[in-house]
């Protein structure tokens, strides 16, 4: 009984810690993005609230919480209210399987630095990312606005398309690690991160992940100059905030996944493992921001063309070649 209680306690503490860290990270990622983009464009970015604008996320939060919550006339009310929650919750739920570090011992307890080391962790992540589509789709559809609906349709098509190549790009990793468990995958990279062994798979995965994050150059569902603000055009206040925060949590998740699959997870010299993990995730996030500051947006037909006719065949080919090579090298 005591053991169960302690396990529960540890899980709750872990959950609390992860939520606190990830939500703060998401908030400051917004600030970091604004600052970095501003500097890339020879501006200062937010610098009024607190020293160097450090309290900007707090100000944003207060603003969003105090804004009027508008529900447009003709909207499907319940779905409209439900969609932002869905978007944020699916993003948060993925965190459950992310291993931040190796198992450590606290007070004689073996504590893995992951909420739940699922043996099908990879599939769990893929399943949740496929459910994330509903947030966008329902939000856009329920708004009863043409811009939002168009954005939903675009978002649906884009996410389904790139999920495919993302899933395929994970296959060689699973084959190499011989496990669906994320912890096992990290453990398999103890000596060498997979990015060095599978550079082309990494590229495919990274591009697909960028597309999944709905960020520039893949931000067609919220293209400001075509669709006003896309699927969240009609949202205001904290409901918009949920979409917004979901996007940045998503960025952290996708960064984590990139780290776990290719960059060797928490492995690294000198520094404690958790720092290496965070460092790598933030590095990936910086690259996302960097991309946003650099690249123009795809045209819709280019996006579809690239996803289906370039990325998907290459990913398939990659699976076949890498699989064949693996079978050959095993001598089977």
């Amino acid at each position: 009984m005591n053991d169960i209680l302690i396990t529960l306690l540890i899980i709750i503490i872990k959950l609390g810690l992860i939520f606190a860290v990830v939500l703060t990270m998401a908030a400051y990622l917004v600030l970091a993005e604004r600052k970095i983009l501003a500097r890339m464009q020879l501006r200062y970015g937010p610098n009024r609230v607190g020293p160097f604008g450090m309290f900007q996320p707090v100000a944003d939060l207060i603003k969003m919480l105090t804004k009027e919550d508008v529900c447009p006339a003709g909207a499907d009310k319940y779905l409209f209210l439900f969609a932002p929650g869905l978007a944020a919750v699916t993003a948060l739920m993925s965190l459950a399987v992310v291993p931040f570090g190796p198992t450590i011992e606290i007070f004689g307890q073996q504590v893995p630095q992951v909420v739940c080391d699922l043996n099908i962790g990879v599939l769990y992540f893929l399943g949740l990312s496929s459910l994330a589509v509903y947030g966008i789709a329902l939000g856009g559809w329920a708004s009863n606005s043409k811009y939002a609906l168009l954005a939903s349709i675009r978002g649906l098509a884009q996410l389904i398309s790139y999920e495919l190549s993302m899933g395929l790009a994970v296959v060689p990793i699973i084959m190499a690690a011989r496990s669906f468990s994320l912890t096992d995958i990290v453990m398999a990279q103890e000596s060498l991160p997979f990015v060095l062994i599978y550079p082309e798979t990494f590229l495919i995965f990274f591009v697909s992940v960028a597309a999944e994050s709905k960020r520039i150059p893949f931000d067609l569902p919220e293209a400001e100059n075509e669709l006003v603000a896309g699927f969240h055009t009609e949202y205001s206040g904290m409901r918009f905030g949920l979409f917004f925060v979901g996007e940045y949590i998503n960025m952290i998740i996708l960064g984590s996944m990139t780290t776990i699959f290719f960059l060797g997870g928490w492995h690294g010299p000198l520094l404690p493992p958790i720092f290496w993990f965070l460092f790598k995730v933030l590095g990936v996030a910086f690259v996302f921001i960097w991309m946003r500051g650099t690249m123009p947006r795809f045209r819709y037909d280019q996006l579809m063309h690239f996803g289906w006719k370039v990325l998907m065949p290459i990913a398939l080919l990659d699976v076949v070649v890498r699989g064949g090579f693996m079978v050959w090298s095993l001598g089977g």
Binding site: L79, S130, V133
Partner: protein
């Protein structure tokens, strides 16, 4: 514990399916169906098949239903106005299906009046699943995968742009 979860989940799945069938608004119907799939996936998980559970979510909830929704949004289907009066020809499938379900339930109760003590749980790891699939049913899997490949190639062929007519490069 597992039995309680089983009953809760099956109740959710049944209710969601029933609601899905009775909704006039196609998008609402899809949401309920997704609920049902989700409950079903959890049922699989509870019954010891996590891999099937994951595939259920990824393929049915994540891909097929999303495609359905995509199409409904594109077509902008209004809630059907036709079902005003109940006609016998429309009621017939409902009656037939209800009879079948009732009959099946009755048969199960009749043949197994005591019921089984709890539900037996067999845990299937992805490894077991993979061995079964690719060892025992390798041929079937390959046939199906070739069919899919043909379908993909065919789709590409049908959807190609005619360069002579000046389609996009």
């Amino acid at each position: 514990m597992a039995t309680v979860l089983f009953y809760i989940l099956s109740a959710i799945a049944l209710t969601a399916t029933l609601l899905c069938v009775t909704r006039r608004n196609p998008v609402h119907a899809i949401i309920y169906l997704v609920h049902a799939f989700f409950a079903l996936a959890l049922l699989f998980y509870v019954l010891g098949a996590p891999l099937v559970a994951a595939w259920e979510v990824i393929i049915y909830a994540g891909a097929i239903m999303v495609l359905f929704m995509f199409i409904i949004m594109m077509l902008e289907l209004a809630p059907s106005q036709e079902l005003q009066g109940l006609v016998w020809s429309r009621l017939l499938p409902v009656v037939l299906l209800s009879l079948t379900v009732l009959g099946a339930t009755f048969a199960i109760i009749a043949f197994d009046p005591g019921g089984v003590d709890g539900i037996p749980v067999y845990f299937a790891t992805p490894r077991d699943f993979g061995y079964t699939l690719f060892k025992e049913y390798a041929l079937a899997v390959e046939v199906v995968s070739f069919q899919l490949l043909f379908a993909a190639v065919g789709g590409y062929y049908v959807g190609r742009t005619d360069k002579k007519k000046g389609g996009r490069k």
